[in-house]
Amino acid sequence: MNVVSSLAIELRNISKSFGSGESRVFANTDVNLSVRRGSIHAIVGENGAGKSTAMKILFGMQSADSGEVHVFGKSVRWRNPTEAMASGIGMVHQHFMLAGPHTVLENIVLGCENSSAFGILDTKKAASRLRELCERYSMPVDPDRAIEDLPVGVQQRVEILKLLYRDSQVFILDEPTAVLTPQEIEALFSNLRRLRDEGRTILIITHKLKEVLALSDEVTVLRQGKTVGSIQTKQASAELLAEWMVGRKVILDVKSEAESNPGVVRMKVTDLVLDSNHAMLKNVSLEVRAGEIVGVAGVEGNGQSELLRALLDPKNPLSLNSGKVELLGHDVSSWSSSQIRRLQVGFMPEDRHRDGMLLDESVELNILLGLQNHPAFVSEIPGVGGVIRKSALKQALERAWVDYDLRPRQSGIPGRSLSGGNQQKLVIAREFEHHPEFLVATHPTRGVDVGAIEWIHRKLFKARDQGTGILLVSSELDEILSLSDRIIVMFQGAVVAEFSRGNVSAQQLGLAMSGGLKGGHA
């Protein structure tokens, strides 16, 4: 008991597989993890490295095929999350588990309601306890506001308060910074440090190495379902962790060798206005020239999606009330998306599963998506219509294998069987088949492995150097900062600031993203 008791969590030789036969996937193979009580422990790894599976096993959402879970020195085997929560483990999921229409207080007491006789809820007691917690941890929230009216950062605060309300001793946070501005991230981190100093244990799953180094006490790296190693954060570096994650040396910050050399205007929008229930564009004007990357920074939901829809489908009254859209020298304000898709333009969608893939169809058909009017892939036969050229599709797939390192090199497999990074490579390969003069790259590296990020960034720089105008939309500030020749910031549907390369820090950008910087046109 002497050594064990200092550990809050211990996973011993956890293995877990899904599926069967040839399609059997090993999510965890002998994963080992030791987390000291009262520490912040980061778990890093690429997509599919098995982080989430390990945490789901720890939280009782899934059961391990073999191996042991120890919590505060006791061996446990949970059947469901309720049992895990009862033992003091709490989890903040990447996609928050909150009931939107209900109030903060209702969400917090959900599942552990105090009731008096006849099952009447004792809301007064709950409210006073919540207020106390808010004050003690300086995390102000209005208990009577509906969740859906709160910004994402505050929703996350509610999730953390939920765990505090249950007096959880172990906090598992899955990618907690994905939707936060730099300022919000800083606030979150100081809260987490405070929780640690009180003796609670924090487990944080992330792929952002910078944050690992800034926040954690110890790091464990997973790769392909196995534990690569654990290390004191003081002794670690971003390069080392990346190497452990990928299994080879990785260049984290891709720099372009060449200066940008902007040419003719490839995309220009003037005074875009959209005013509907939730979506909004306020007089957005913007241009992208040949051979430059223009980054759009902003917290998600501040008009970026609306801007993209206006570019793709300007004719649709749901995407645009007024304004002018020009692409490659054409006024396309009254064009439909099928007309626009016949131009030499590429669109990398913001959510590739929702907008960019047919998960159950073959990789070949996924390549055809969006290229179905392209003469290289479909021959027009009079009286019959477009006939798919299977050989051209096969060649395009082979090009993707070679030029884009798409794996596995197997034809006919469904899109679903590719990893996140390879799905993104397929989307990129496909969009470059348009030989785009203008490319919209939305979250190009979201959910993509560290190794593939480097590769995708190089590809974008190469396209830029060959004269493609690129509009880059990303919520990763580092990505915006390292790729963009110019950066514009969107806040509540308007362009609130513009910076050129090298003239802005992450802090300034963060301030502009939260609306704190007005009219900063440089």
Binding site: S20, S337, R354, D355, M357, L358, D360, V384
Partner: protein
Amino acid sequence: MKLLRSLLALALGLSLGLAVTAMAGENPWHVLQVLIKGAFGTRYDLGMTLFYMTPLLFTGLAVTVAFRAGLFNIGAEGQLTMAALAAAAVGVLFPNVSAGWAWLFAFSAAAFVGGGWAAIAGWLKARRGSHEVISTIMLNFIAASIASYVTLYVLKNPETQSPETLAVGPGYFLPQIPGLGDSPVSGALVCGLLSAAVLSWVFERTRWGFEMKVVGQNESAARMAGISVGRVQILAMTLSGILAAGVALGEVLGSAHRFKLGFSPDYGFIGIAVALLARGSPLAVIPSAFLFGALHKGTADLDIETEHVTRDLTLVIQALIIATVSAEGLWDIWARRRNIKIKQKGAQAHG
């Protein structure tokens, strides 16, 4: 795997259906014999099976096309009613068109009306957001009413008490397929088989087939790819209606040579079962329609040959097949069981 599932569903549905007859006090083995003998006993029986298969081929394809674009066409019954009525009307109103292309003339009218009838539901779905299941059901009722009115008040055959129109001109008759003991199976069957083959090619090789698939699987990705979702939905529904109109070929031009009120024993609805069993493949619709045709023919003799079950058994078996085919969860349970067994075996081997 798809094939295996369909075959298993079939076997399971049939066995359960026969189990029901056992519960009713019949010997299931005897019932099965009656079914098989009724469907394939003589050349004539086989001919009747093929005759029932023909309309099911068309409605099965109609439902399959709509499925591909993510639409559930419950309205094949109304579409085929309108189409058969149109074919008969053309044949009655222009009786002297000479043989050769007359059938094509009548079919064009049928396709136009049947396709148009389905297009209404497609348009309502694409432009007004009304669910196609609701609108096609409603259109079925309207079609039935129109058919009654036209048959009884406009084109009524005055020489008979039964509700049917006048006969079409002899130039419209489709040739019978010989060698099947004078059964009414006609060239319509050939048209149906060709339609399945052409449709299969359209699905696999053409942009149009691809666009339907994209719309059916992921509307959002379709929009992003520059596919007009509404246009594809309307066209898919229209094509579905045109295929349902093929029923007019066998029923009006190939056999009855007139429109008889209530000629269809719910071909449109059985077509849904045919399509479900075929799981989206036009070529698989052929054996599936053959099977349901055989079931329809085979059960016809149950009334005479057995004491406790009637031809309604065909409905029971159809329902059981639909239930087993669509019970996706059942297959998962089955697959999981198998995995566990494999694992246990592996463990034993290692232990």
